[in-house]
Every structure is written in structure tokens, then in C-alpha cells.
């Protein structure tokens, strides 16, 4: 009986953790899209150099803080956030949107559970 309950308890624990992490997933998704918008507008020459540099630093810093707050860093979303942070500062907007989009899918899935 105890053995049968274990996977259920683990699953419940995981789901609770993911639920707790939902706000961080949502923050990371937003930060990813913000970063993409900054890089897109920078490529179009619509921003100043000081602003672009500062925004990229701030956004990466905040992503780092968000990643460190996760209760389940070794999860699908934890990996995705780390992949986002690993992108170079001037990564193409499309690439950043792909990571942020994946986070959005995870967020939607967790919200509908």
C-alpha cells in the first residue's frame, strides 16, 4: 500500500512545486519576451546604446534571480530558463521568443491542470 502511494505522493509534491513555480515561470516568460523586444528594436536602430546595454544586463540579472527562486530547478521549465539565460546578450529576437514561447506553453499547461 505504502509502495503504491509513493508515486502518487511524489507526483503531488511535484505538482505542488510546479504550482509554486508558476509565478516564476510567468516572470521568466515575460522577461524573455522583453529581451526579444529590446533586441528587435535595437536591431532597427530605435534605441540608444546605453539603454540597450543596461536593459540586457537588468533582464539577465532578473532572469538569474527568477531561476534561483525555483523550487524545482531540474524541471522542463528550469532547463528552459537556463537555456534563455545562456543566450548571448545580442541574441536574435526570434531565438529569444522561441524560449519565451516554450515557457508560455508550460505556463498555460500548468494553469489548465
Amino acid at each position: 500500500m505504502r509502495r503504491a502511494l509513493l508515486p502518487l505522493l511524489l507526483l503531488a509534491g511535484c505538482s505542488k512545486g510546479a504550482e509554486t513555480d508558476l509565478q516564476y515561470i510567468s516572470q521568466a516568460r515575460s522577461l524573455g519576451f522583453e529581451w526579444a523586444m529590446v533586441n528587435q528594436l535595437a536591431a532597427q536602430g530605435k534605441l540608444t546604446a546605453a539603454y540597450v546595454q543596461t536593459m540586457r544586463e537588468s533582464l539577465k540579472e532578473q532572469l538569474g534571480t527568477t531561476a534561483s527562486a525555483l523550487t524545482q530547478p531540474q524541471s522542463e521549465y528550469g532547463n528552459e530558463i537556463r537555456a534563455l539565460i545562456a543566450e548571448p546578450a545580442n541574441a536574435p529576437a526570434a531565438e529569444l521568443r522561441t524560449h519565451a514561447g516554450k515557457l508560455k506553453q508550460i505556463e498555460d499547461r500548468l494553469e489548465s491542470d
Binding site: 508558476l22 509565478q23 510567468s26 516572470q27 516568460r29 515575460s30 522577461l31 519576451f33 522583453e34 523586444m37 529590446v38 528594436l41 536602430g45 530605435k46 534605441l47 540608444t48 546604446a49 546605453a50 539603454y51 546595454q53 543596461t54 536593459m55 537588468s58 533582464l59 532578473q62 519565451a100 514561447g101 508560455k104
Partner: protein, 411 residues
């Protein structure tokens, strides 16, 4: 009336509405809930116009600033509790503004944040020390108007005007889950609180006394309160509507003030960006001065010290020491490395708890014919004043539970 006389109202409103909290909050509200929170801005704007006008009228007729009234009407004990809570919430707000200035200067120059925050605090101290009150109003009130670039940016992106107009009608978006409904309620309460920050009336009424208002200035007071506050509201609504159009569909819930400035870069490029950052910078600097002075006014008025920027600093020594110490304390909070955006959340919740105790004595005195004579509250001011008081009490009761349940609108 000389239009330049409106600067007290403009500085009060721009500094009150468009402080660092409101910049991020208005944009976040728009990106998460579209246009459906516009009515909360509109409603609370009417509230702050009502109380702003009342505080100016009381200052002009009874020569009583708000904290004098609080002490006399609430008694020493309750008055002191109000003073302590108000000083704490306004101090946190002032720290958030100084942190915000550090961030904004970093966006403009790329220099380190804490260095920029320290330079900002030093510059503010110099301004308050050197400049006469009128010049402080004029410089920060008028340069804060650079924020009008947000209104032009909204027009340039051709938003759905019919949806913006519909946003002025009280509403709750259909189909929200219970969690989203709680978040929506938290946003509504927080916007209401941030628009009606009590420091605005402390500063505005003390400013009226600094400028030696009398009954002949009452028409100026009324126009200043209406035009100034409506302008502040317009700027906030423009930021909310642009965010609903540009950020929400792009999956962005702005977390930092730098993101909000993208609203103007999209249509106008680097010039729009720099104007937006400068506009926010001057508005936030105005808010930092406003919060610092409002706190010093409150303390001095409560304890019956000589106060006022119309006096030389050494003619009102305890008042001078108070604002200098408060500014340094705010800087010290920033230098601990705390995130200014999280400071803002606490300031908003603390403020709404103080609101009923701030506005009740004001309304009682404005209703008192013995003090106000023929300038006592008219029927409209009386009805609106009590209506908003009931709303404020309800919001104050709901604020803390909503803050805890939604983790400050995050959950």
C-alpha cells in the same frame, strides 16, 4: 489666472500619479488586463481631485495644513499612530523614487545604479536647499510634462479608441478564473491607493500655505486640482493603453521601468525613448521631493515646529534637519541593495491603511462652518467626499488580505 500658477498642481499630480510605482503598475495593469482597469484610474482621479481641492481650500481659508487637522481631530494618540504609519509608507515611497532615479539615470548613461542613486539624492538635496519653493514646482512640474510623449506615442500607434472609451465604464472582465479575479481586485485596490497616496494632499496643502494662499486663490486651487490631477491621470491611462496594445499581445508584463519606455521608442525611435526616460526622470524626481517634503511637513506640523521652504533653512532648523535626515534615510534604504520595485508594493499597501485616517479629519474640518465660514463644503463636495471615504475604508479593509493572497499581484 496665470497658467504658470498651475505648476503646484502639475507637480503634485505628475509626482503623485507618475511616480516610479505607477509607471510600472499602469503598464503591468494594461498588459495583463487590457483596458478594463481604466475606470479605476478615472474613479480614483475624481477622488483625489475632491480631496486635493478640499485640502487646498482648508489651507487657504483656515490656514490649516492636513497634519495639524489630524492631530486636533484625532487626538494625540491616534494622530501619532497616523503620523508613524504615514511617515513609514512615505519614507518607503521616497526610497523607491530614489532607487527609480538611479535606474533611470543608468538607462540614460549606462553608469552604475547605486552611484546614480547617490548622485540623484545629492542633486535633490541641493535643489531643495537652494531653490525657492516656486522654482521647485516649476522645474519639476514643467519638465515632468515631457511625459506627454506617452500620450503622443499612444496616438501614433492608432489604438482601438472604442475599447479605450469602453474602459472608462466600471467593469470586471468576463471569464476570469477565481485566481485572476483576485489579481484583478488587487490591481484595482493598488491603483486606487497609488492614485490617492496621502502624501499628495500633505504636499499640496502645505504648498498652498507656503504660497500664502487666501480665499481669493480658491478659483486657482479648484482649477489647479482639477487640471493637475486630470493631467496625471491622462499620462497613466496613456501608459496603460499603450501597454494593452503593445505589451499584452507580445507576452510582456513589464517588471522594470525601462521596459515602459519602449512604448515611445516603437513609434518615435531613440528620440522618443530619451524623451520618455527624461520625462519619467523629472516626474520621479518631483515625486522624490514631494515625498521627502511631505514627510518633513507632516512631522513639523504634528509637533508644532516652525516649518516651510519659504523660510531660510536655519530659520526652521528642526524642519530642515527633518527633510535632510529623511532624504538620507531613503538613500540608505536604497544602498542596502533592496529592489525599488518591491519597495513600491509595500508602500502602496501601507498607504491605503493610512488613507481613512488622513481624509476623515480633512473632511470634518471642510464641513465645519465655524472654521470655513461661507467656504464650507458644498453639496457636491460633501456627497463625493463621503462616497469616496466609504470606498477608501472598503479598500483599506481589502488591501492587506489581497496583497497576501495574490503575493502582490504575482500569484
Amino acid at each position: 489666472m496665470n497658467p504658470i500658477e498651475l505648476t503646484l498642481g502639475i507637480m503634485t499630480a505628475v509626482g503623485g500619479f507618475v511616480d516610479i510605482s505607477q509607471v510600472v503598475f499602469a503598464a503591468l495593469a494594461g498588459s495583463v488586463f487590457g483596458y478594463s482597469l481604466i475606470w479605476v484610474f478615472a474613479l480614483s482621479t475624481v477622488g483625489i481631485i475632491v480631496y486635493g481641492e478640499m485640502s487646498g481650500r482648508v489651507a487657504a481659508v483656515a490656514k490649516q495644513p492636513v497634519f495639524n487637522l489630524i492631530r486636533h481631530r484625532l487626538g494625540l494618540k491616534l494622530g501619532f499612530i497616523t503620523l508613524a504609519a504615514s511617515v513609514l509608507s512615505t519614507l518607503i515611497t521616497c526610497a523607491a523614487e530614489i532607487g527609480g532615479l538611479g535606474l533611470l539615470l543608468r538607462y540614460l548613461t549606462g553608469a552604475p545604479y547605486l552611484l546614480m542613486a547617490t548622485i540623484s539624492a545629492a542633486a535633490l538635496m541641493g535643489c531643495i536647499w537652494v531653490l525657492p519653493f516656486k522654482w521647485i514646482e516649476r522645474i519639476f512640474g514643467l519638465l515632468g510634462l515631457l511625459m506627454l510623449v506617452f500620450v503622443f506615442a499612444l496616438t501614433a500607434i492608432d489604438p482601438p479608441w472604442e475599447k479605450i472609451a469602453a474602459g472608462f465604464l466600471p467593469q470586471i472582465p468576463p471569464g476570469l478564473s477565481s485566481k485572476e479575479l483576485l489579481n484583478f481586485s488587487y490591481f484595482a485596490v493598488a491603483i486606487f491607493s497609488a492614485v490617492m497616496f496621502p502624501y499628495e494632499t500633505y504636499f499640496y496643502s502645505s504648498g498652498g500655505i507656503e504660497e500664502e494662499w487666501g480665499p481669493k486663490d480658491l478659483p486657482t486651487n479648484r482649477i489647479t486640482a482639477i487640471v493637475g490631477m486630470a493631467l496625471g491621470s491622462l499620462l497613466s491611462i496613456a501608459m496603460l493603453a499603450s501597454a494593452a496594445q503593445l505589451f499584452g499581445p507580445a507576452g510582456i508584463g513589464p517588471q522594470i521601468p525601462g521596459t515602459v519606455a519602449l512604448q515611445t521608442a516603437i513609434p518615435f525611435g531613440p528620440i522618443g525613448l530619451v524623451l520618455a526616460l527624461l520625462g519619467i526622470l523629472f516626474a520621479v524626481a518631483g515625486a522624490a521631493i514631494e515625498t521627502c517634503m511631505a514627510n518633513a511637513y507632516s512631522i513639523a506640523q504634528f509637533f508644532g515646529w516652525i516649518w516651510g521652504r519659504h523660510k531660510k533653512p536655519w530659520e526652521a532648523p528642526r524642519f530642515t534637519i527633518a527633510w535632510v535626515v529623511l532624504l538620507l534615510l531613503s538613500l540608505a534604504i536604497v544602498l542596502t541593495g533592496v529592489d525599488p520595485m518591491s519597495l513600491v508594493q509595500y508602500a502602496i499597501v501601507f498607504s491605503i491603511l493610512v488613507l481613512p485616517l488622513t481624509y476623515l479629519p480633512l473632511m470634518l474640518l471642510a464641513d465645519d462652518r465655524k472654521y470655513m465660514g461661507k467656504y464650507v463644503n458644498g453639496r457636491l463636495a460633501k456627497v463625493l467626499g463621503w462616497l469616496f471615504f466609504v470606498l477608501i475604508v472598503l479598500m483599506a479593509l481589502a488591501a492587506l488580505p489581497l496583497f497576501l493572497i495574490t503575493s502582490g499581484g504575482q500569484g
